[in-house]
Amino acid sequence: MSRIEKRFAQLKADKRAGLVTYITAGDPDAEISYQILKGLPAAGADLIELGMPFTDPMADGPSIQLAGQRALKAGMTVDKTFDMVRRFRKETGDNDTPILLMGYYNLIYQRGPEKFCKDAAAAGVDGFILVDLPPEEADELKPHATANGLDTVLLTAPTTDDVRLPAVLKFASGFVYFVSVLGITGTKSATEEAVRTHVERIKRHTRLPVGVGFGIRTPEQAAAVARHADAAVVGTAIIDHVKAGLDDKGKAKPELVPGVFAYIKALADGVRGVRKA
């Protein structure tokens, strides 16, 4: 069983949905970013998405675009992202919280899919969410991911109809990420009814857990998603709290890290307040 499978099995046993939190690795710099990463499980994150900053994040809205630029400017690299994960596993002794790398395929392609998967697994990474790698192009990565015990979480969208879903699910493992709105990250929110309908539809095709993301900003919205899905994914709103903790020169104020944790705790309370059957 992978860490992701174990975590969802535990959530099911606890009769609740999970909270998946996204942060951009290296935002606003490597050290502060690590301090955030280290404290995420205690703040209430059940799974962690670690964004690999990329110069051209074509599926991301302004918040995550700027986070990536801050990280790159501060010198973030793929190796340093692996270092963050390695340090997390070693220093916290947390060997249960899954960490997924999220980002764009070119960074993986340049290192080589095989080497990337080996290095990621060795650092303690559990899987990938790759925005620009649809199932049509996933065969180059999938065998190396599988060989290294890494899950490939594929995205489904409102436009992914019942005919197409099986083709997407064929490459999916860990969980299925439902992008709940048409659009880039952090711009729009789906209605609870739309989330319910789509999650039910996806679950007719798979036994994998379903996480829902895009546009979740408040504990109430997180709770609404938790009523229907196995996990709520929050990204942009967390990044906005990171940004709010920066001074005029882009340096972290002392309240940045605690501010992020307080916000995540509120989200977690929202998610955990929903009892599941």
Binding site: M58, G61, Y109, T156, L182, G183, I184
Partner: protein, 404 residues
Amino acid sequence: MSSTPNSYRIGPDERGHFGIFGGRYVAETLMPLILDLEKAYNEAKADPQFQGELKYLLTQYAGRPSPLYFAQRLTEKLGGAKIYLKRDELNHTGSHKINNVLGQVLLAKRMGKTRVIAETGAGQHGVATATVCALFDIPCVVFMGSVDVDRQAPNVARMKMLGAEVRPVTAGASTLKDAMNEALRDWVATCENTFYCIGTVAGPHPYPAMVRDFQCVIGDEVRKQMMEAEGRLPDTLVACIGGGSNAMGLFHPFLDDPTVRIFGVEAAGRGLDTEEHAASLTGGRPGVLHGNRTYLLQDREGQITEAHSISAGLDYPGIGPEHSWLKETGRVEYVSATDDEAVEAFQLLCKLEGIIPALESSHAVAYAAKLAPTLPKDNLLVINLSGRGDKDVPQIAERLGMKI
């Protein structure tokens, strides 16, 4: 990669790959739409009514065929190959871009789309898209890097006059790459009613093949016109390359004619030995961006680096995937011309032939000016004059210290 294919003209495969290049690297939200587009395009391509309407518009609206003009004074001055200019700068809107836009907007209409978006660098594709959208009464939004908005002001005004909304993009270096990112972001949110009219032979499949097909009218005409003028095929073809659509349109019909030597001219900016150029084939390596795998300017990790060219239309760190494949197979020779060489060629053509070429096309003229003297007098050399330079007049005037 080294084995010679039976034909250079059969790509891409059913998944949109030219060798290892091309493909469909897009967000899942877009995938179903892209598959629909591919299906709709294949149906339109086989439909005589669609082809008939396109032919009518190319002829009566765009003014095709464009002349194949023997540039006598340029030929005499350079003292080598016999130089012909394919006058695609004479098309309505002033460049080859209209060939592709007419095809795509007709397709958008056929698919029932009610809004068209486009990215633009120099503004030529933006102007062509704004023009055809005005003709078909379809709302049009053009994304353009804010740096390009400044250096191509005449084209920005033209797009606005034609009723398009121009959205300046300030992300990254604020040039063509960033405009394309922003257009893709808009499309993810609006794909149900919006058609993304890509201006070059890049992006996810089927765009590289579809745009190429629409641009092949250039090479098809040259083939016929050269037979009429000289009774045989040309010996040498030269075209500039940013994304590479005018070049692909000229080259593709000749790829299986082994006697025809083909040159694609990339923008060398301030020099290939500097970091300020846009020569992705010469200075880059394969990577994944904007929906396809192709040669890209990037750092060791895979972060995309900024391109530089005096010409906004060539200022792009990637290139169409079919060009990447043609480079690796060796069928096309990829060379380059610097900013300074392009400006010199711009002036050369103004003074010798009374033609003001676009800065983009000036790169092709610049390389041809180096190549022609090395070739025999009976070598028939065609330069694709893909755009006219009216839009560049303020920029060149400033560079030459003229007051306007």
